[in-house]
Amino acid sequence: MNMPSEQNNKPKLSRRQFLTAAGGVTFAVAAGAMGFKYFAEPGKNKKTLPDQEITAWVKLNPNGEIIFYNPAAEMGQGSMTALAVIFAEEMDADWDMVRIESAPVEPDTYGLQWSGALGGPMLTVGSRTIRGYFQALRHAGAQARNALLQLAAAHWGVDIGQLSTEPGTVVDAKGKQRISYGDLAALMTDTETSIELREIPESAWKKPEEFRLIGTDVPRRDIPAKVDGTAQFAMDVHLPGMLYGSVLRTPVHGAKPTLKNETDIRKMDGVLEVVMLDHGVGIVADNYEKALKAKRALQVDWSQDAQAQGYDSEAAFAKYQQLARQTTADSRKVSESGNYSGAMRGAQKTYDLEYRNDFLYHAQMEPLNAVVSVTSDKKSAEVWVGTQGMDGSRKAVADALGIEFEQVKFHPCYLGGGFGRRSMSGYVEEAALLAAKVDQPVKLIWTREDDVRYGAFRPISVQRMQAGVDETGELVAWGHYIAGTGGGLLGSAGKCDYYSLPNHRIEVRNIDEGVRTKHWRSVSHGANKFAIETFLDEIAHDLGRDPLNFRLRLMREHPREMKVLKEVAQMTDWGNAAIPEGRARGLSVTDHGGSFAAGVAEISVDEQYKIRVHRFWTAVDAGIVVQPANTKAQIEGGIVMGISSVLQESITFKDGAVQQSNFHDYPLLRMADVPEDIEISLIASEGAPSSIGELSLPLVGGAIANAFLSLTGTPLRHIPFRPEKVKAILNA
């Protein structure tokens, strides 16, 4: 079994145990909350260093092996390799000697604050891992390298100034001697040498032109295990005596269960426990198929008092539309500048259009699951889980059992997809509540139907877009009113800093419906950029302006973004390319977390009114790119998921309940429907690394709708663009 730590499936020792248990370990670089400490002999230093201070990014073994502690979840984005690359770069480590293990769940040391400083939650979200850890890991790597230089200087009795490093080796050019990092580590076993861990100013770190790992295509370390079937997802954990859990959850969020046939259920073959939960009924059985059988036999009355009772997503559009149209409403301002109302009044021509999007389901391929083992005294527990929120999940188990955070041993597993769904920890809590009732470990497995029906969805919304143009066709006023259910999720990406819109007003208007919504890859960028970019093309179309030139004009004060847009125009030979008969191209742009991207889709519509995306081009400025090939894989994946969401996906509610249940009625894009080619250009940059994982998906809705407008003269204003909707629009 291969866990994200590249270890076997033995329970991972905590950092503290590791230091005391590993006799051969000679030294480690330990990072306190801000400063670093060095300790030569683990046993000895343990006495002087309180446990909580023994934390580290790296451990160097005498055999030269360098263990890097990965603080982030690995859900397919590849950051486990990229973070190690960043550290190894500055440490000047021999990459072949680097091994990756999961960091202990100690958020004070390994977590990330929203400001980018260390010491926040260990929460892998928001495409923030590489950009968040980049500077801290470079500094830590530079410090580790400096410590090794100090060691070598002491060993040889020479001035540190005459030493340099080559990958994995300290070199004394003057004295003509060399020593490997591993041999330096070995020296530490019998030395009392005290090494000062120094602050290394950024000016002394490598210059981008000196990088030998960053910017090259280092193969991902998780891939071999994902190709031979040994990669360990929580779903794959097997413990002696393990039992199986299944939960019947309320169809209407917030309704409470009353179980009518508990006695009969308890008599069923293999059933060991029936556990009442606030939102459902849990079964623990000695076999998963038996647990499912018992779950199917449950007879439950659900309370009729839930807020979501009666919610109908199709009917709700009218409410959101009305709310979006109100001139005064209880709004949250996303951004406002200039004199919007005055500019609208003074405009030569105004536009007022609405765009819509349905709820979306994450559809990560691995259904939610977790394994929890509670000791018989109920005072401690272990959890195996794939989660985006490591400390959050560990805390969820502790809270469910009423024990301390420290009493929960946490085993991170690979995530079979996250996309935001695994940033919630309800499924981990459920596993803990089931495991608390028995003396054996419990593996809780959600079925796909559970995963869909008790999903937490990208919000539904109606977006009212208003604009005014002057007599020269210049945009002088811009209004964007986002109304729906999803609270703070709704406003993501409303503001477009790369367009000069001096008089604008952007507002969010939310109705709490009691249904579950959550961050979904790119949050509401997917819906909002669709509305913004499609609206722009509709205006350009009306004014007889070219969509590219129209945007370039809006970007006149933003050269960085303009460069990206021009790059995609060049890639596609915009305006001059010979486009096959029956096809058209559409353009869109997006920002995300400091990055910027521009995309072009080439589409056609077949006889069954199905939109086909034949080709897709993207230009991206994401600052310094640590792993270019993997970055392209992420951009490509975002485009494919974007096409899937825009052409096919929709969650609807009737009577408060989700109407879909599995991939037959929530279809995902299949191989036959991916573009023949996705071409990606990464703009060379020495800017700070910025967002990648969520950058490309928001391009797709606008690019497809704009290509459709160009092809048919008809706009698409409601995601998804399924054939029946396309047919109705074209025949209207």
Binding site: D228, G229, Y288, M365, G418, R448, Q634, G637, M641, N662
Partner: protein, 151 residues
């Protein structure tokens, strides 16, 4: 119920309930967890194994139906060393989250066994039943093409 069949080349006998299913038996009883559960209704292909060489969705396959047959899982595809197909998968850096990849590889292996040099259209037709949420499809195509030309 006792069911005898060949699993990854070895004859085995398992004792299960009458209505046991192949996927859960492989994953939980026999602890070969490379084969994944993802939909349970043969819509996604993550659970694909070979039954007498034919790619089969284990999630809807009754265990009784493989009695006397030969079942191969991802673990059996690479017992000694990785197949050329798996090497191609690494060379193309196909997986992202990786969860569907065992199913993708088993589906692809069955194609190459029948048709060592498939066209792109043949690849797409054969692979269309296996879902990937991370969007690795284009790389899957490249890996199969690489394995077919190197075969």
């Amino acid at each position: 119920m006792t069911t005898s069949f060949k699993l990854n080349g070895k004859s085995i006998e398992v004792e299960t309930a009458e209505d046991a299913n192949l996927l859960w038996t492989i994953r939980e009883n026999l602890q070969l967890t490379g084969t994944k559960f993802a939909c349970g209704i043969a819509q996604c292909g993550s659970c694909t194994v070979h039954v007498d060489g034919v790619p089969t969705r284990a999630c809807i396959t009754p265990l009784a139906s493989v009695a006397g047959k030969s079942v191969t899982t991802i673990e059996g595809l690479s017992e000694k060393k990785l197949s050329a197909l798996q090497e191609a998968w690494i060379a193309e850096q196909v997986p992202q989250c990786g969860y569907c990849q065992s199913g993708q590889i088993m589906q692809a292996a069955a194609l190459l066994a029948e048709n060592p040099s498939p066209s792109r259209e043949e690849i797409v037709n054969h692979m269309n039943g296996v879902l990937c949420r991370c969007g690795t499809y284009l790389r899957i195509i490249k890996a199969i093409e690489r394995a077919s030309t190197s075969a």
